[in-house]
Every structure is written in C-alpha cells, then in structure tokens.
C-alpha cells in the first residue's frame, strides 16, 4: 500500500495546517490604483512597454467587456463582484525585469522554495527518487501576482529552437507570432472573463515549438497570487508547429485571506499538423476556510485548437483549490483525424463550489475525443461536471467517449452532472456514461480489516477512483496530486 503510506506521511508532515501554501511574502510591490478604466489599461500597456497594436487590442476588448454581463448559468453562487475594487496590476518592485535568477528578489525565491518549486536549476533533480536513472529536467516560468519573475532553462530551450518566455516579453520580442495567434482561439469577446482578461492581462507564458521539434523538457508555470485585493489575469499562449510536441505543467497557489480574490486566466493552445500538446494543471488556489470565508474565484477560459491534421491536445487537470471554480478546458477539433482529450479530477470540500468540465467541438472528419471526469464532493460543497460534445455536419466518422463519475462523501454536499450532447452527423458515434455513488461499505471494510485507518482507507479508495486521470499526469505532478487529494479531503470522514 505505498500510495496510502505516502499520503499518510504527507498528511502527518503537514500537522494541523490544512493549507500549507497559505503564507504571504513580504516584498515591495508596485501596485496600480484600484479600479478599471482605459487609463489603467494604458498604464498596464506602458509598464509592459507594449507596441501600439497591443494597446488597441486591449482597449477594444475593454469596450466589449463593458457591454457584457457576467455569466449566471453555472451552478455556483457568490455575491456580485465589484470589478472597481481590484488592483489590476501588481508587480514585485525590481529593476527593469530580471536578467537572471541572481537579480530576482531573494524573498521571492524563498516563496517559491516554500512552494516546492524547483526554481533553481541545480536543485531541479533533488526531488527525483533514486534508482530512476536519468530524468529530464523541467523548465519553469514563475508568475508572481501580475508578472513573470523568472524563467529557467532558457538557453537549453533556445538551442532546440523552443521559445519559452513571459508573454510580455514575447509581445516585444516576437510580435509577429503573438499577433498572429493571440485571441485566435479565445477571441476577446468570447465571454465576460475572456474579455476582461484580454483588456488587463499582465503576464503569463508564451511557448513556441518550431516544426518537427520535440520539446527537450517539460515546461512548467507556477502562478501565485500574493498581494491583497489583486486580480490575477494571466495569459498563456502555446503554439506548436507541424510534427512538434510539448508537455506543459501549470501549478497555482495563493495565500490565505479573508476576502475573495479573482483569478481570470485565458489559455490558448494551437496545434498544427501532427503536433501534440499535453497541458496538465494542478490547481491548488486557496479554497477559503471551513466556513467558506475567502478563497480564490477561479474563472478561467482554456481552449485548444487542433488546427492541423492528426494533431492532438490533451488536458489533464486536478482541481482541489479555489472557493469557486468556473472552468471548461475545451478542444476545437478542426484538423482531420485530430484528437482531443480531457482528464479531470475535481475535489470540493467545506464550502467550495466547482462547475467544471469541457467542450469537444468536432468539426473535422474522423476526429476523436475522450472525456474522463472524476468529481469528489465532501463537506458542504457543490461540484458540477458540465460538458458539451458537439458533432458538426462535416465531422463524419467522429467519435466521442465520455465518462463522468461522482463520489459523494457525506450527505451535505452535492454532485451534479450536466452533459450536453449535440450530434449533427449520422456517421458519428457518441457515447456518454455517468455514475454517482458513495464509497462502498465493502471497500471500506476491506481496507479497515487490513489495518488501515478510516481516513487512509478513504484516501486509498479515492486515489483508486481517480487513477484513470492521475496516470495521465507527469510523474512529479502525479505524486503531488495524490497528496493534494488526501489533504483536501482531510476531516471529511468520520
């Protein structure tokens, strides 16, 4: 029972603190005044030294946003958000952007150390268990509040021709690429939060993998909201050319706070012929306390376009954090024979609310998609899987398989499944299945009989329940995700 032991140890190490990432780092911040107007957007744009077209793009998005209303259809409830009461720009104060790790504020690096992010290149292999032999290192782009503070392994990546840099830098250094693809998958006016993000995004990562290149290492971004009353609006753009491939990891944390903080990111993926993108997320934003005070509002738009034939986009997410999650990583399957995948584990406890799922839009012939969604609700939380599978008339031979399973722990939580299936092609096959149940007494009894505590038994069973998804995660993430599951459910049994 190595998994159980491991998780048990992890929990013991944590002692009483249920959210170990809840520290705040005291560093000098450069804050824009609260509120949102065209001047703030001009300020953000000028701080980022952006070209004129970018400012125009932002302003156009802002005008669109002003005419929109925030979406109400998700099964989540929260008091209205005052968008004028948020700082739209917060940056650790430093000289004109760090050139190397040495220039980064040491307090900041400490923060990342506490987070366990192997930001220092030499420390990267430290987390690798012995006996596994050579492992590829991970390149990290760390985003602190609104700006990217450090990107590692840039030289190695550059040798392979891969561009991995903060998006603000990409706008300056690679304007043609950014201009061509930014907003091409998620247009600014796509929804309320994407419009807001397009107007005010401050940083994020940009990845470009040229034709035929298999990205030599995993790329990773760590997002952390630190300052009070700030919104984090990061923008990620990943473009993978013909025959190229990349695996990208994303991790998120935030300090404990009484008030809610807004996080509205946009992620766009573009995959050309035979390209493949694997995008993994472990989302562990501060979920609020047991009474539901504080926590992050996570309103994210993630979408990938399989533009080329036989291209593949795979989303894997483990969602344990955030007070409210509103997130639907999607695939537009345009290229013939392209493949979309969505693997998700969403855990809610206490007063968390999650409305998450995916959209698979089949446009091209012989496109395939797989959706595996595992939902676990405990405490007084509510968790919803909401998904759309749409097969357009030209998508002959399209194939979808969807499986949604929900596990309820306790009788005060809710688990909901709302799949939408729209099929306009007779030569397509769509299959959907969903189940909802609790942890079976038999399984619990079996584990208890073999000497496991009730909590460990639940952890073990939950990990088994999520196995189909966890096995899709890269190694380091899978271990972390297992621990997170256990911690998130702490105190929910017995």
């Amino acid at each position: 029972m190595p998994v159980a032991t491991e998780t048990k140890e992890a929990v013991e190490k944590l002692g009483q603190s249920t959210y170990k990432w809840g520290f705040e780092t005291d560093i000098e911040m450069d804050l824009a005044p609260k509120g949102l107007n065209e001047d703030i957007i001009r300020l953000i744009s000028s701080r980022k030294e952006e070209p004129g077209w970018m400012l125009e793009w932002r302003l156009a998005a802002f005008r669109t946003w002003q005419s929109m209303e925030d979406p109400k259809w998700a099964k989540v409830s929260y008091p209205p958000i005052d968008y004028q009461d948020i700082h739209y720009y917060a940056a650790p104060r430093s000289k004109a952007g760090p050139k190397s790790l040495d220039e980064v504020d040491p307090a900041l690096l400490k923060t990342y150390e506490k987070l366990g992010i192997p930001l220092h290149e030499q420390a990267l292999l430290a987390g690798v268990e012995p006996g596994e032999g050579e492992r590829l290192p991970v390149a990290v782009d760390a985003v602190f509040d609104s700006v990217s503070v450090a990107t590692t392994f840039r030289k190695t990546l550059a040798e392979a021709g891969v561009i991995f840099c903060p998006i603000s830098e990409a706008i300056r250094e690679h304007p043609d690429l950014v201009r061509r693809y930014l907003g091409s998958v998620v247009p600014a006016g796509d929804n309320f939060y994407s419009a807001l993000n397009s107007a005010v995004f401050t940083d994020g990562s940009f990845v470009y993998v040229p034709k035929g290149v298999r990205c030599p290492m995993e790329l990773s971004t760590y997002f952390r909201i630190n300052a009070r009353n700030t919104g984090q609006f990061e923008r990620t753009l990943i473009v993978v050319e013909e025959g190229a491939s990349v695996s990208y990891l994303e991790g998120c944390t935030a300090p404990m706070r009484d008030e809610n903080q807004l996080h509205a990111a946009v992620v766009e993926l573009v995959a050309m012929d035979d390209a493949s993108i694997k995008y993994s997320t472990v989302q562990n934003w501060y979920p609020g306390d047991e009474e539901g005070r504080g926590g992050i509002y996570n309103f994210v738009t993630k979408r990938g376009a399989c533009r080329g034939a036989r291209s593949k986009i795979s989303w894997t997410q483990v969602e344990t954090g955030s007070a409210i999650t509103w997130k639907y990583p999607s695939c537009i399957l345009q290229g013939e024979g392209s493949v979309g995948e969505f693997y998700s584990v969403a855990v809610t406890n206490n007063c968390q609310q999650a409305d998450t799922g995916t959209k698979m839009i089949h446009l091209g012939r012989n496109t395939r998609s797989t959706i595996i969604a595992k939902t676990i609700s405990a405490g007084r939380s509510d968790s919803t899987y909401r998904g759309l599978v749409r097969v357009q008339p030209k998508a002959s031979g399209a194939r979808n398989f969807t499986q949604c399973d929900s596990l309820l722990i306790g009788d005060k939580c809710g688990a909901h499944t709302v799949p939408y299936i729209e099929c306009r092609n007779m030569a397509a096959r769509v299959e959907h299945e969903a189940t909802t149940s609790k942890i079976s007494e038999d399984q619990l009894f079996y584990c208890r009989q073999r000497g496991l505590s009730e909590e460990d038994a639940v952890g073990l069973i939950v990990n088994g329940f999520c196995r189909d998804v966890l096995k899709e995660l890269p190694m380091e993430f899978a271990v972390e995700a297992q621990k997170l599951l256990q911690i998130s459910l702490e105190g929910s049994v017995g």
């Binding site: 008339p393 688990a415 499944t417 299936i421 306009r424 007779m426 397509a428 959907h432 149940s437």
Partner: protein, 426 residues
C-alpha cells in the same frame, strides 16, 4: 388588465386577445406570471433546444364551439382500427379541447368530472413554474378529471384528444386533465392525441398516485401534420406508489412531452420511458424532471430516438435527488439512431444529487445503423430496405417492451408501423 405588446413578449402576443379577457383569481395570476416571463425563448435553459417559432405568426383564437362531427368520427375510427381491443375500452373523447359526450363511452369504475363544470386547477401544476402551464391555466377550456377510488382496479381508459385544424394554425386549445388514484387503486390511462392539419395543443395533466396505487400512463402523439403539441404532466407519487409512463412521439410539426414526476414517500417508483420516431422537418422533445424527495425510491428512464430526414430530436432528462432521499436508485438511458445526414439529436441527461448513499447513473449514445449488422443481414439475402427496417425495429423493440399494458403496446407498435414508410424518404 395590462395588454401584451407583440414586440416585447414574442409568441405570447399570439394569445394577447384571449388573455385580455380572462376572469378568476387563478387565471389572472397566471396571466400576470406570463406577463413577467413571457413564453420561453431558446435562451431559457429548459427550452435551449426547442423554439416556439413553429407556433407561427397569426393570432390564435379559442376553438370554435362546434366541430365537424364526420371528421372527428373519422379520426376516432382510424385510431380504433389500429388496434382491435381499443374499441372495447371505455373512452373519453375531446375534440378541439372540449368534451364530446356523443363520442365517449363511460366506465363505472372511474369517477369523471369535467373542468368546464368544476374549474378546478389542482395543485401540482403551479402556473409560475412553467410558462406553458401558466398559459394553460389562463386559457383552459375543458378537461377530464378522473378519479379511482381506494382499492379499485379500474382497468384501462382511452383518453382521446382530437384536433381538427385547417391548413394554417388559427386556434389553440389547452385541456386541463387530472388523475387521482386513491390508495391501492389501479388504472391504465391511454392518452391518444390525434388530429389533422394545424393547431396548437397545450394539455396539462395533474396526476396524484396514492399509497400503493399504480398508474400506467401511455401517451401517443399522433397530432396533425402541421400541429404543435406541448404537453406537461405533473405526477406526485405517494409511498409504494408506481407511476409508469411511456410517451410515443410520431406525428406533428413540433412535439414536446414534459414530465415532472415527484417521488414523495419511500418505496415509490417512477418510469419515464419514451420513443420518438421522426422524419421530414419534425422536432420532437422529451423533457423530464424526476425528483426523489424521499428515501428508498426507484426511477427508471429509457428514451430512444430514430431520426430521419431533417428531423431533430431533443432529450432533456434531469434526475434530482434531495438530501433526504438516501438509498435512491436512479437510472437513465437515452439513445439515438440517426438515419439521415441531416438529422440531429440534442441530449442533456442531467444528475443533480444531494444525498450520498445513492446509486445513480445515466448513459447516452448516438450513432447510425451498424454497417456490420446491415452486412450480416444482406449477406443472408435480406434486401437493404428490409434489413434497415429490421434493425430500426430491433432498436426500438426493447423500449416498446417496457409498456406493460398489452393493448397500449400493440397500439404503439401499430402506429410505428404506419410511420415505418417514412424511412424511405431520406
């Protein structure tokens, strides 16, 4: 009374003339509710896939006081001819929404009163929950209120609604039916909605199944080819009661059968099954909300669609399990067979669960006829058209077999067989 402006209220304007004149507190309340929310557009989640455009542009009047007796009798005879045991059953016949005593045959086991006499709206169907129920409340002309006393097995009853419309839709009718089964009572209710031409039929049926009672409710939508039929059923099921419903959507321009079933006490059971067999430009919508409001209840749902031509099938099925409803066993299955490149299915099976000790699952599949199965049949000398027909029948057979009442099952099969010819029109 406020008037309803055509630009603000969309299709509601079609009824503005009639709505202005309504009297009585309940009806006026319903009009007020309608003025607040209007008739649903596709922006309303429950109507996401079904538009009321098919109601047309011209104002819809009340049905005329008299009807064409010959035409009504022809429809009645046609239905009776489809299945030989039907003629022997007691029946209630409504023409254009009004009771036609001359065509009806009453049964002693069932106490029947008429809405036109009692003006009783019942309680399960609240007008503010659903605009079409509000419309019905405001405009209801007549309806049958059927009651079976405790412990009585009332056998089967045919409730035939005949719509006699012309080429263009000029009138609408809004029957208000009610069924009350007292403790231990039994009834098989066969609702056949038949007709010709264009009209708008908006029935509301308010059902109460008592302790240990069992209602079998089979609805056949065989409406006029240009008719719009949007029926709403509210069923409240008491402890150990059974509400076993089946709906068959075959004829009509736009069909919707909406069931709200509530399992109110333990060991109750609800079945909401259905088949849609549509072609040409038909739209058929089966929507249901099954609410488990008590522990130890069972719900089962199987809906199958066979869609041809430019037809569009809609399935929206929600199973809601309240916190108190531990030990719930819910199962829902929706399957669609697309026979033509232009056919479409939109499905939304939905689980909303607040109790943890439950077993709920749903499934949905969409596909075409299996080439391998076709090949198998053809390799054994079965001509293609016949092979296709066999496979379609096989697909539907399992669901039709769920209809417990033999006569009703035979009637559904007969009506599907009549429709079978449509298969060639793709």
């Amino acid at each position: 009374m406020n008037t309803i402006s055509p630009d603000r209220s969309g299709p509601l304007a079609l009824f503005s003339q009639r709505l202005e004149g309504v009297a009585g507190a309940e009806r006026q309340q319903a009009v007020a509710a309608l003025q607040r929310v209007g008739l649903p557009s596709r922006r309303v989640e429950a109507w996401k896939y079904t538009a009321l455009r098919a109601l047309g542009q011209t104002s819809l009047a009340a049905p005329a006081a008299t009807y064409d007796v010959m035409a009504a009798r022809a429809v009645l005879d046609d239905v009776l001819a489809a299945q030989d045991t039907l003629a022997g059953l007691p029946r209630l016949v409504f023409v254009n929404g009004r009771h036609a005593p001359e065509l009806s045959v009453l049964s002693e086991a069932i106490k029947v009163t008429f809405f036109v006499d009692t003006l009783r709206f019942g309680t399960a169907a609240a007008p503010d929950r659903d605009p079409l129920v509000a419309l019905n409340t405001a405009l209801a002309e007549d309806g049958a209120q059927m009651q079976v006393e405790a412990g009585v097995d009332a056998g089967a009853l045919l409730l035939l609604s005949i719509g006699l419309g012309g080429q263009d839709s000029t009138f609408s009718f809004h029957p208000r039916h009610a069924v009350v089964l007292e403790a231990g009572a039994r009834l098989a209710l066969l609702c056949v909605q038949a007709g010709q031409g264009a009209y708008f039929h908006n029935p509301v049926t308010d059902i109460s199944v008592g302790n240990g009672a069992a209602l079998e409710h089979v609805t056949l939508q065989l409406e006029g080819d240009a008719a719009v039929s949007l029926g709403t059923v509210y069923a409240n099921v008491a402890g150990e009661g059974v509400y076993d419903s089946f709906a068959l959507g075959v004829d009509g321009l736009l069909l919707r059968h909406e069931v709200h079933a509530r399992l109110g006490a333990s060991r109750a059971a609800v079945h909401v099954n259905g088949v849609q067999r549509l072609g040409a430009t038909q739209v058929g919508d089966m929507t249901s909300v099954i609410t488990h409001a008590a522990p130890d209840c069972i719900s089962r749902q199987t809906v199958r669609n066979v869609l041809d031509g430019h037809a569009r099938g809609v399935f929206q099925g929600k199973v809601l399990v309240e916190q108190i409803a531990q030990k719930t066993d819910g199962y829902q299955m929706n399957q669609a067979l697309l026979l033509s490149p232009d056919a479409e299915i939109d499905a939304k099976p939905e689980l909303e669960i607040y109790a943890d000790d439950v077993r709920c699952s749903h499934g949905a599949t969409v596909g075409a006829l299996d080439d391998e199965q076709l090949f198998y049949l053809r390799s054994r000398g079965v001509p293609e058209a016949q092979a296709r027909q066999m496979l379609i029948e096989a697909f539907l057979d399992e669901t039709l077999a769920l209809i417990a009442h033999e006569g009703a099952q035979a009637l559904c099969r007969a009506m599907l067989a009549r429709k079978g010819g449509v298969g060639a029109s793709a």
